[in-house]
């Protein structure tokens, strides 16, 4: 029995240790250990999910199975045994023979991973031709068959296109076809659906799963989304800070996690928030706004109307390109609308940012997705938070410092951070500083534009809890822009669903999330992965039935 298993083992990683040299500003270069003695085995044709937060070492391990390290990353210990031989002993030549032939890689953003200068087909068959495993004609035939299997439109001719002529979800499938084309034994999927909209993700996920099943290729599936990995993996390995936390069958990990950390990952979205009923007087009303960029005839917002009530949260949800961020830009005056008005406390706000008095600017604050680029890297946390205090309230010296300390306290960070620079903070801490900066202005409304999208689930959860607490204390309202429905469920009082520039569904949370649904909201809701084995098949089946019914 044990012998049989040994024969079917494809990849056997033993005590893998990976290090990197980092260059912290103003300090001597130092060595850090990214992966501490991790071991794993993967049988032929099986899928192992690697899951963890950023910095867990999951991508690093995935790339190590191809003998590759990004930047200054080095494999300093252990063995990576693939098909019975230690690939780390093969040297550069050995790696080149293995990459693209025995192991292929599917990157997170196919849009960036395809070379914009070459046609898709040339890139898809490149590895196959390089390793001489098939003639060009045979490789192209194989590629077209794979395009068909991955349900790409026009499989015969899509290869003639350039990457920019194909959508993101399609590119991700083409990249999967590219990996499968050279008939490897192992594919490393590195967050292949993370950059996609939920409604696109489900199709790509199903296509990848079918392709893995039909070609009997083994896979390392790297993601931070446990619900996604539960759909495709046979086994799941949980990693944290480069160490193994738990490794087991998919069912065991999501149903009976043994480690506390795994349990936290599984139950991450359970935030309790009692929905508040909208009052009678919204303090901010958006009425029939229509907006476009430049002199374009394409309207990014079409006749959008929403109301925001004091101390409540309006979640605006939709796919990329649906106009959610444009709505925020129209409200703040960054993009003056062509038609419609924004009323604040019963009076209309000036369309253009430049025409608004300081007091109006103070009342509307923003927090962004990318906290690192929203802060001046050369200013300390104290200066960043203190700036709105000086600008809006004229606070100086000790008074200002006192208020900065209070704000740091509110975001649960403490005075010790006053003299730190953004580069010294973690992603979650950076976002907290941005929250403190917006709170410093004592606004009535904070617009949160995908503020948790770039964060790991547990960190994002902390931020959401903080936002809810602050809302209670300060009675501030949020316009919460997100594509993540789980986030919406946990914090919203009312919801606006946007699709192609229009609000397709709007109302109190309990109404919006209760049937009967319109077609788009139904699609959106049914696309959110659930932490349940077999969800994907059920969702796809439900979708086919719906389209058959039409």
């Amino acid at each position: 029995m044990a012998d049989q298993r040994a024969k079917s083992v494809l990849l056997d990683i033993r005590n893998l240790r990976i290090e990197a040299t980092v260059f912290p500003p103003g300090e001597a270069p130092k060595n850090i250990v990214l992966v501490h003695d991790v071991s794993l085995t993967l049988e032929k044709g099986k899928v192992l999910g690697l899951i963890g937060e950023s910095g867990a070492g999951k991508s690093t391990i995935g790339l190590a199975s191809m003998g590759y390290g990004r930047g200054g990353v080095r494999i300093t210990g252990g063995e990576v045994i693939l098909n019975g031989r230690d690939i780390l002993k093969g040297g550069k030549e050995g790696f080149r023979k293995l990459r693209g032939r025995e192991v292929c890689y599917v990157a997170q953003s196919a849009a960036a991973a395809f070379n914009p200068a070459h046609r898709l087909m040339d890139q898809v068959v490149e590895a196959t031709l390089l390793h001489g495993t098939a003639t060009r004609a045979a490789a192209e035939k194989r590629a077209i068959a794979l395009f068909k299997k991955l349900s790409l439109p026009n499989p015969e001719s899509i290869g003639e296109r350039f990457p920019h002529q194909v959508s993101g979800g399609q590119l991700q499938r083409v990249m999967t076809a590219m990996a499968l084309c050279s008939e490897p034994d192992l594919i490393v999927f590195d967050e292949p659906t993370t950059a996609l909209d939920v409604t696109t993700q489900i199709d790509v996920l199903a296509a990848i799963k079918d392709a893995i099943r039909d070609t009997h290729v083994a896979a390392l599936y790297i993601t931070h989304d446990l619900a996604v990995v539960a759909q495709v993996s046979d086994e799941i390995m949980v990693l944290r800070h480069g160490r193994l936390v738990e490794w087991g069958g998919t069912r065991q990990i999501i149903k009976e996690p043994r480690q506390e950390y795994t349990n936290a990952l599984v139950s991450v979205h359970e935030i309790e928030h009692q929905e508040q009923k909208p009052g009678t007087n919204p303090f901010l009303s958006v009425k029939n706004i229509t907006a476009a960029y430049g002199r374009s005839h394409i309207k990014v917002l079409k006749n959008v109307s929403v109301d925001i009530y004091p101390g409540q949260t309006l979640a605006v949800v939709g796919e990329s390109g649906s106009g959610k961020s444009t709505l925020a830009r129209a409200i703040t005056g960054l993009l003056p609308p062509e038609q419609g008005t924004v009323t604040f406390d019963g009076r209309p706000l000036a369309n253009r940012l430049a025409d608004r008095p300081k007091e109006d600017l103070r009342q509307l604050q923003m927090i962004y997705q990318m906290a690192d680029v929203a802060m001046n890297p050369r200013q300390t946390v104290g200066t960043i938070i203190g700036r709105p205090l000086e600008f809006y309230f004229g606070l100086r010296g000790r008074e200002r410092d006192k208020r900065v300390a209070e704000l740091l306290d509110k975001i649960e960070m403490g005075k010790g951070f006053v003299d730190r620079y953004p580069a010294e903070l973690s992603g979650g801490q950076k976002q907290r500083v941005c929250i403190a900066r917006s709170l410093a202005a004592k606004p009535k409304l904070i617009i949160c534009d995908e503020v948790t999208s770039a964060l790991d689930p547990l960190v994002a959860n902390g931020i959401l809890k903080l936002l809810l607490e602050l809302q209670k204390e300060e009675n501030v309202a949020y316009l919460f822009i997100t594509h993540d429905l789980a986030t919406v469920k946990s914090i919203a009082d009312s919801i606006a669903v946007m699709y192609r520039g229009e609000v397709v569904r709007y109302g109190a949370k309990s109404q919006v999330l209760a049937p009967p649904f319109d077609a788009y909201t139904d699609l959106l809701l049914s696309s959110v992965p659930e932490m349940e084995i077999g969800w994907l098949e059920k969702a796809i089946k439900g979708r086919r039935m719906a389209s058959a019914g039409n």
């Binding site: 590759y68 990459r99 990157a107 960036a112 991973a113 590895a127 390089l130 390793h131 296109r161 920019h164």
Partner: protein, 319 residues
């Protein structure tokens, strides 16, 4: 060809023509500001008020500046660049041969310099931060840092005086056989190559290195391509636009900036012609040469722009 490209290219060409017109106005205005006029310059010491007035009448210098400008421009457009004061020769005729000489020299310098610079740039990226990269960068920088007359004289000292392989004075004439002509331009072409090499090589290196950070370069490496194949097939095609730009700038320099090298090697090209007539204060010749240099400069830059547009797959293959 698709419509966005045609539109962009047409735009660039129209802008170039407009720019050239503006330059012609500047050149004309500049020569008007100078004290004295052509009549005075022609008559020199022997000028009497009557003869001056006669000559002015004869040359049409009494007409308003605007009319004279359009008369000059009209001549330029129809190929009549006027008459040189110092020799009384037709400028267009004298320039023809010299322009051809300058282009001949620039062409052969470019044929060596451009591929060499790009290949050295590729090699520097392949062995980046290693000793090969540092050696290439160091030598290229050194050759650029020396002034061109110094390089010119060093070349003359070794190859013309000490070893007598090539002539130190690059005299060429119309009926000269091709082989002899090539031998004559060898040293000035080498000097020019050394002057422009480093700039192109370093920009090529920088442009490719910029692209080497891209995710698609990692994809190529993970397909098992060799380091040089990754650079050549995946990085270089995406760095082509900035490289073309710097190549064109240097080509323009080879034609417009050769003055010093032509004077050192006594090469009968445009640069030497210009210097000669500046010393003689021959305004019509300076005007004509200035306009031709401007035209060359602007057209090469337009070509660079157009090449960059055509090299962009997003414009070549719209959605």
């Amino acid at each position: 060809m698709s419509s966005p490209i045609v539109k962009l290219v047409a735009q660039r060409i129209a802008l170039g023509i407009l720019l050239l017109l503006a330059v012609s106005v500047l050149i004309f205005a500049g020569t008007q500001i100078l004290p004295g006029d052509v009549a005075q310059a022609i008559l020199g010491q022997s000028a009497t008020p009557e003869s001056l007035a006669n000559l002015r009448e004869q040359l049409g210098l009494n007409d308003p500046a605007l009319i004279r400008y359009f008369r000059w421009l009209g001549g330029v457009v129809t190929g009549d660049l006027g008459t040189a004061m110092s020799s009384g020769q037709d400028i267009a005729m004298s320039i023809k041969g010299r322009l051809w000489n300058t282009l001949f020299l620039a062409f052969w310098a470019a044929v060596v310099a451009v591929p060499l610079a790009i290949i050295l740039g590729l090699i520097a990226v392949r062995y980046r931060n290693g000793w090969v990269d540092k050696l290439i960068s160091g030598l290229a920088l050194a050759s650029t840092s020396f002034p061109e007359f110094f390089i010119g004289y060093v070349l003359v000292y070794f190859f013309a005086v000490k070893y007598q392989i090539f002539p130190g004075i690059s005299t060429v004439y119309d009926e000269m056989p091709f082989g002899e002509r090539m031998q004559a331009i060898m040293l000035p072409a080498a000097a020019l190559t050394l002057v422009v090499l480093a700039h192109m090589m370093r920009m090529t290196r920088a442009a490719i290195l910029n692209v080497m950070q891209s995710a698609y370069v990692e994809t190529a490496e993970l397909k098992g391509l060799s380091a040089f194949a990754v650079i050549r097939r995946h990085a270089f095609p995406n760095a082509i636009a900035p490289i073309i730009n710097v190549v064109m700038l240097n080509l323009a320099y080879l034609i417009v900036g050769v003055v010093v090298v032509e004077v050192i090697f006594v090469y009968p090209g445009m640069g030497q012609y210009l210097v000669d007539h500046v010393t003689k204060r021959d305004v019509p010749v300076v005007q004509a040469v200035g306009l031709i240099f401007a035209a060359v400069y602007i057209s090469l830059n337009i070509i660079a722009d157009i090449a960059a547009i055509v090299a962009n797959p997003r414009l070549r293959h719209p959605k």
